[in-house]
């Protein structure tokens, strides 16, 4: 019998094995494995959920039950850059809705839609923990604080024109950000390579491309 994830990349398979070994109960690895499956398939697909189910020994239905509970698992294809605009209370007070409108306009999409060139998806999200730097935006979960509607348009244009391989929060903050919640400290070398949170040895990339 072959491994259910034989079609995954070598890094993906290695990461999956690490995750399975990490927890006292394999089932705990469902959520991180779904991120890995997202990277492998572009989003959470039925096939991906079945593979994860087989890896941890539960039914695919149970995996889907988890995968649909959390909003960060995308069940439809999203653009290369997932732009998440916060409109929760602090951002709402300081213009988050305008930023969202501007980003949608620049990308030419409705909220939740993906631009025709498949590069940018703009979504509305609830609080992303940057209330001190409201309004806040994330690109592939890398944060930018103090965004204005005009900067949001610039951000979308920049993403489309430069199509960065790795999304780096510090770079984006410098280009399109404003007031921050607090000092960020030393620049972060890691960034996101896909619309999946960049965490762990597979899924983020060191600066230097």
């Amino acid at each position: 019998m072959s491994s259910p994830i034989a079609t995954w990349s070598a890094e993906g398979q290695e990461r999956a094995q690490q995750l399975l070994a990490l927890y006292p109960d394999k089932r705990s690895a469902v959520m991180p494995l779904l991120y890995v499956a997202s990277l492998e398939h572009g989003h959470v697909t039925n096939e991906g959920m079945q593979q994860v189910a087989e890896l941890i020994g539960v039914t695919a239905t149970q995996v889907r039950s988890v995968a649909t509970f959390y909003t960060m698992y995308k069940h439809e294809p999203v653009g290369r850059y997932l732009v998440s605009v916060c409109t929760s209370i602090s951002c709402h007070l300081l213009g988050g809705d305008e930023v969202l409108d501007a980003a949608c306009g620049a990308a030419g999409v409705e909220v939740g839609g993906t631009s025709e060139d498949d590069l940018v998806t703009v979504e509305r999200v609830e609080c992303i923990g940057a209330c001190g730097g409201a309004p806040a935006v994330q690109v592939n979960y890398e944060l930018i604080e103090g965004v204005t509607d005009i900067k949001a348009i610039d951000l979308i244009d920049w993403l489309r024109n430069t199509t960065p391989e790795v999304v780096l929060a510090d770079e984006l903050q410098q280009l399109f950000g404003g007031q921050k919640s607090f000092d960020w400290g030393v620049p972060e070398p890691d960034g996101a390579i896909a619309p999946v949170p960049a965490f762990g040895p597979y899924g983020s990339a060191e600066e230097g491309r």
């Binding site: 539960v58 039914t59 239905t61 889907r64 649909t68």
Partner: protein, 792 residues
Amino acid sequence: MSDTTTVSITINGVDHEVEAGQRLITAAEKVGEYIPRFCHHDKLEPVGKCRMCLVEVEGPRGKQLVPSCTMIVNDGMVVDTESEVVEKAQEGVLEFLLINHPLDCPICDKGGECPLQDQTMAYGPGESRFIEPKRTYEKPIPISDVVLLDRERCVLCDRCVRVADDIAGDPLITFNDRGNHVQILTFPNEPFSSYFSGNTVQVCPVGALTSVDYRFRARPWDLEVTPTVAAHDTVQSTAEIHTSRGKIVRVYAAENDHLNDGWLSDRDRFSFAANHAPDRIVSPKRRVDGSFEDVSWPEALNTIAERLGGIAPERVGAIGGAHNTNEEAYALGKFLREVVGTNNIDAQLGDGFNAQLAAAVTPRATVDDVESAGAILVWGPDLKETLPVLYLKVRKAVKNGATLVVASPWRTGLDSIATSVVRYRAGSGQEVLRKLAQGSAHEDAAAALTTGPVVTLFGRASLSEDPRLAESVAAYGRTLPDARLMPLLTRSNVFGALDMGLAPDLLPGRVGIEAGSAGLDAMGMLGAAAEGALDVLFLVGSDPVRDCPDPALAAKALDQADFVVAIDAFVTDSSAHADVILPAALWGEVDGTMTNLEGRVQTVSAAFPPRGQAQSLLEIVRDLAAIMGSGDILPKDTDTASSSLANEAPAYAGVSRESIFFESDGTGVVVPTGAGTQPLGYIPTDAAVPVVTDRFTLHFAPSLYDDGVITRHAESIAGLVPDVTVRISPRDASVLAVSDGASVVIDDFLTLPVTIDADVAQGSVVVPFNQVATKGLIAASAVSVEPVRGDV
């Protein structure tokens, strides 16, 4: 558990003494204070999700609203179930449940028996204040061949999820999405293929889960309910037949805590369609020039009587009777032994084991013993495939803390929860058993069988297994601490039939026949008929060509016999050979009693008269005996049959339809076994079973949905037969040089695709029994397996 101390609680100002440890909602109900509920179900773990059962309980911080389904009663608890706050909460919850409910009650199958309707009437607000658009979903979507899902109606009570996951162990239906969009769903393109899916329909408190069979067939107010048992297997779950205008429209489980806990398998639940199958035999038929023509009952019976006249009794035999009621079986036995004068009677088809062991093994376990066992050994047929409700009981026992040992040549449904699995090569069971008993191997299995009471469930794992192995397993089981034994025969009322003496060496009431006068068993009769030593053969609802281990012999026997009488509801591969076919009444059309695998006698009832001219077996043999001039020997109806039986069979004394009804609260009466009280108390011995050492040994085991006559005629489950493949171990596959999906030839005639399966013991070949694709395969221990070359 045995500790039955009580606590005193106050409900609505009235003091009550209630059993400690139970949930408040249950305690209140027992003292007559009904608290409304949706998610609460007696047989399921509490989840407290619907919030319908909120009551006020006095606490350190004053009265607080708490869900009564999760609250355990404690001494001095002061509860208010009718306060203003409670009533407001109930109204609020019902309004919340209804705002997105489609209110399509007029066309909803649940309308009329719907807890949501009833509780809205009793506790709900008069009208809704909701004017926003309702949540809509596509409706309904089929989630399996037998169940439909309407998410708009769902109140998300979690009952179906808990039944599928906690009870059945098939978590194939779960919640999806979040918040206001939560919905019950199965995985896309993966059906809810549980053997127990129908239970979700029965427990659903709204019309969200409905069955394909019942959909739009009737409304609850025009149903007639007939209590009976689900007679498809020997568990004989307590059930109800629901009829509308003379047709069965659905079968529901009844709650019997000693047996099925209110659950049924889908086969039990959905096989009723066979009663109304268009190709049922509804009038007597006689073979004329090779084809059947309809004849009248007198003509048919006269033909048989004439043929029986002047024939030596030992040249007459009868196979079958396992599908009939005890009274019918009793009458059949009396007819054969006293009117015809033969002991050639067998309710088994060579697929079981020693009839005396099955009928009178001691000490015999009850299903309650299984539930409360310290350890369980299952060495026999796959319970999930053959006795699904007993499988649920074993699961429950394991959940209660019992250890479980499963011995089987191939993966069974219980393996995933077993403490230890003994995987042995088909044909080598005896050797493995010896080692287990001696402690020279399988130490972990032996270690798991040390906490008493140990219940041994023994039977024949496959048709190709030596029937004497069951004897040895039982003998071993008897040596375990506080041992109880449960014989596993699987066919319908076979235990009742054996108790009624439908065996070559048994008389009614578990009385053995004196040595030397035993008749032929089923295989013996078939062999004799094939050699011309038997002239007249009665097939009583049996299909030996499909169901016995040697189909070729059965076919030859039916050809060679001079005269074959089939008492059957369908033309089968066997009854097609008959000279006369008599239309038999089926389950649901006959009154009587049945006996299950623990010896529990329950009543079965006719929901409507037999189809067409069909008659009960009792009526058939009674009329036949009358024509033969011995009408006074046989009982004239069910009641006289049971009183006559009681006189003759001490074990069944006092067990009548009436006494069961009045004494058992609908749960049935267990006929006691054990030396001293019984004429026969069978003590199993270690049998001498030869070990088969051929290159390949066959494991020829039944699955739940097979090509049996009832399954075949029940439209909704007929399509559920599994894909038929030959399973072999990876080692054998590499030796044979076949890959997954390649074809092999078994015994030089049956070509089937191969599935390589790590759960198959090396040297064994697993083939499903009684499927269209495996028709004709002889259940011998050793088989030949050759790869088909040249296919891709």
